[in-house]
């Protein structure tokens, strides 16, 4: 197995399923991704492509009725999926932490903000919660909030932007090596989104941690991330630096996605991708994109394309670029 492509995180051949009354949802179908220290990876894709599931699997947080079938999540040199729960807990919320889309529903409604941040710090530093209030206040100042006022506030008193700042304070409090941000600005207004992205940019710059940003917004990744992974129907479709991906997208899905995004100042007609996202209870055979792909070939229906390096640091899972596809063209 090709391992160690990144020096921080290496996810390979990750398979996750969910058992539901409708059948087994094959949510992740051999996802590959890797990250280096201090890197900012954006994972983009549409609803149901598995981007959130991937981020949760990285922290071994897939719960019933879901199950990680196979694959490995190697963080530095430890395979998180093989560790005991107690050992994973030392990594989770400490070396890897997470912020969520709906900041208000992720905070405890009956505890004040100060307690919640102090609790995180207490767990991480293995000290009493009380002793961590000062550090919690510092964290709040760090994310641009007035700690005197906010420490004693309850989540319902916070605006969306403030709540997300509190989440960021909690996420960054343990000084993680990797911060996973799942749609951190999708529920916010654009002017607030700009504030939060600027803040994250600034803090991550200072702390030097890596960020995995899950989003559906191509604009957000273009502005924040330096690497992008495009996911489709539970697969890694394309991986490259932000510049390469926007300049020369290789996968037909990426090309389609970029043409479908409206942009200020763009005059050409939007091009939609035909068809709909497949049902993952019964995913299409071969390449899961073949039914919607404008360049589909015979082989696409039968064989799953491998995720291969086509150009330097530019990976794609598509038969157009694989050896076999080349012969059939």
């Amino acid at each position: 197995m090709m391992n160690k492509r990144g020096n921080l995180l290496n996810v390979s051949d990750l398979h996750v399923v969910f058992y539901t009354y409708r059948g087994v949802i094959k949510a992740l179908n051999g996802v590959e991704l890797w990250m280096n220290k201090g890197e900012r990876l954006g994972i983009v894709g549409e609803t149901g492509c598995g981007k959130s599931v991937t981020s949760r699997a990285v922290m071994d947080l897939i719960e019933e009725p879901g199950k990680i079938l196979s694959g490995s999540v190697v963080f530095e040199d430890r395979d998180i999926l093989k560790l005991k729960e107690a050992e994973v807990r030392k990594i989770r919320g400490n070396e890897i932490s997470m912020i969520f889309q709906e900041p208000k529903s992720s905070l405890n409604p009956v505890m004040n903000v100060g307690f919640q941040i102090a609790e995180v710090l207490g767990k991480v530093n293995n000290k009493s919660i009380k002793s961590q209030y000062k550090a919690a206040a510092e964290m709040l100042e760090f994310v641009g909030l007035d700690s005197e006022r906010v420490m004693s506030m309850y989540p319902h008193e916070l605006s969306g932007g403030m709540a997300q700042r509190v989440m960021i304070a909690m996420g960054l409090a343990p000084k993680p090596k990797l911060l996973i941000a799942d749609e951190p600005t999708s529920a916010l207004d654009v002017t607030i989104q700009a504030q939060i992205l600027e803040l994250l940019d600034d803090l991550v710059e200072k702390l030097g941690n890596a960020v995995m940003m899950i989003t559906h917004d191509m604009g957000v990744v273009a502005e924040f991330c330096n690497k992008i992974l495009v996911m489709y129907a539970g697969n890694s479709a394309e991986y490259a630096s932000t510049e390469k991906l926007f300049k020369k997208p290789l996968h037909p899905y990426t090309t389609g996605l970029l043409k479908a995004v409206p942009q200020i100042g763009r005059t050409d007609e939007l091009k939609a991708i035909t068809g709909t996202v497949p049902d993952l209870v019964d995913p299409p055979s071969g390449c899961r994109f073949h039914k919607r792909c404008p360049q589909t070939m015979e082989i696409c229906k039968k064989e799953r394309p491998p995720f291969i390096e086509v150009e330097e640091d530019h990976y794609v899972a598509c038969h157009l670029y694989s050896q076999k596809g080349g012969e059939n063209k």
């Binding site: 002017t191 607030i192 504030q195 502005e223 926007f246 939007l270 709909t276």
Partner: protein, 323 residues
């Protein structure tokens, strides 16, 4: 300039808030003295952030919410002064598509009932056969098929549901449709298809749209005119090409700048707004935007700005416009 289909004059919707019977009544000015005209066959976009009153504006001008003041004039008739009976005709002519296609379609009704219901009310004496033909025609027009008539909403994806909601609106031959964030619940690839369909249907049916959204990139794609709303008031309005290339209000400038651009090669200086959107219950004095404006001066705190004309049809409500 082309003929106006709709003239909205000093439209107001104030909600009274009362916490208990002893407390003083507080007023939320959700839509506060809004005036604009929608030219025939155009797409007029209304943009704003949450709490700006854009949804209330869309609903008030259709009288889905009773306005507290102002007029909506169509061909010389103020529709708010009509009796319920006379107003019925305008109900048909003015339709709406709501934001969330998961809540706006009745889950226990067949698509054919959802779309056909309005026709039975508005086209008295229409036969079943004709209703069926008409439904078939609109379904095809919005990119669905005849057999979809006999299905329930839960059998459709978000994009398809929004097409059904749109079919329900156009089946009554309206002139004017309010589209309230019709694509914000959809994925980008689906959004592109729906936007395209909206554009084509508008051209084919000579429709006029009021497009309510928070997404400026969609406005650039679709709209001919734009009004920017902030805490219930229009701060800038005009032709989209004017407003987008040369914004005159600092808020418009901020909105345009905040919108993340899917192009990593385009480097630009970000403007970061001060603070958060104030509550519409207790809006700031003077110019409502002064608390977040980077150009604010003392005058802005004290005096409410009046509307100024920058050029023909381009109006801004600011003491110190950028152009």
């Amino acid at each position: 300039m082309s003929e106006n289909l709709l003239e909205i004059k000093n439209l107001e919707k104030h909600f009274n808030l009362k916490k208990s019977i002893f407390s003083k009544v507080r007023v939320v000015r959700a839509v506060d003295n809004v005036t604009f005209s929608v030219p025939k066959n155009s797409t007029y976009a209304v943009v704003g952030e949450s709490g700006s009153g854009k949804t209330t504006l869309g609903r008030t001008l259709l009288k889905l919410i009773e306005p507290t003041g102002g007029e909506v004039i169509i061909r010389g008739v103020n529709i708010f002064s009509l009796s319920n009976k006379d107003f019925m005709e305008y109900r048909r002519r003015m339709q709406i598509v709501f934001q969330d296609p998961y809540n706006s379609l009745h889950p226990k009704k067949l698509v054919k009932t959802i779309i056909g219901e309005g026709m039975k009310i508005h086209f008295k004496g229409i036969g079943e056969e004709e209703i069926r033909n008409r439904i078939k025609a609109v379904l095809e027009q919005v990119g669905l098929r005849e057999e979809h008539m006999f299905r329930y909403p839960h059998e459709f994806s978000g994009g398809q549901r929004q097409r059904i909601a749109f079919a329900r609106a156009i089946v009554l031959n309206p002139e004017f449709i309010v589209l309230d964030e019709p694509t914000s619940a959809l994925d980008v690839s689906v959004q592109a298809m729906v936007l395209k369909m909206l554009k084509e249907t508008k051209r084919d049916e000579n429709l006029t749209y009021l497009f309510i959204t928070h997404d400026l990139s969609i406005v650039d794609y679709l709209a001919d005119y734009v009004a920017v709303l902030y805490l219930g008031q229009i701060v800038e309005k005009g032709k989209k090409s004017d407003v987008f290339t040369k914004p005159a209000h600092p808020y418009t400038e901020l909105l345009l700048n905040s919108n993340p651009i899917p192009n990593p090669f385009l480097k630009r200086d970000k403007i970061i707004a001060k603070g958060e959107i104030p509550s519409p219950i207790n809006p700031p004095s003077g110019c409502r935007f002064h608390t977040r404006c980077r150009y604010a001066q003392d005058k802005c705190k004290l005096e409410e700005p009046v509307e100024r004309k920058i050029r023909e049809g381009h109006i801004v409500k600011c003491h110190f416009p950028l152009i």
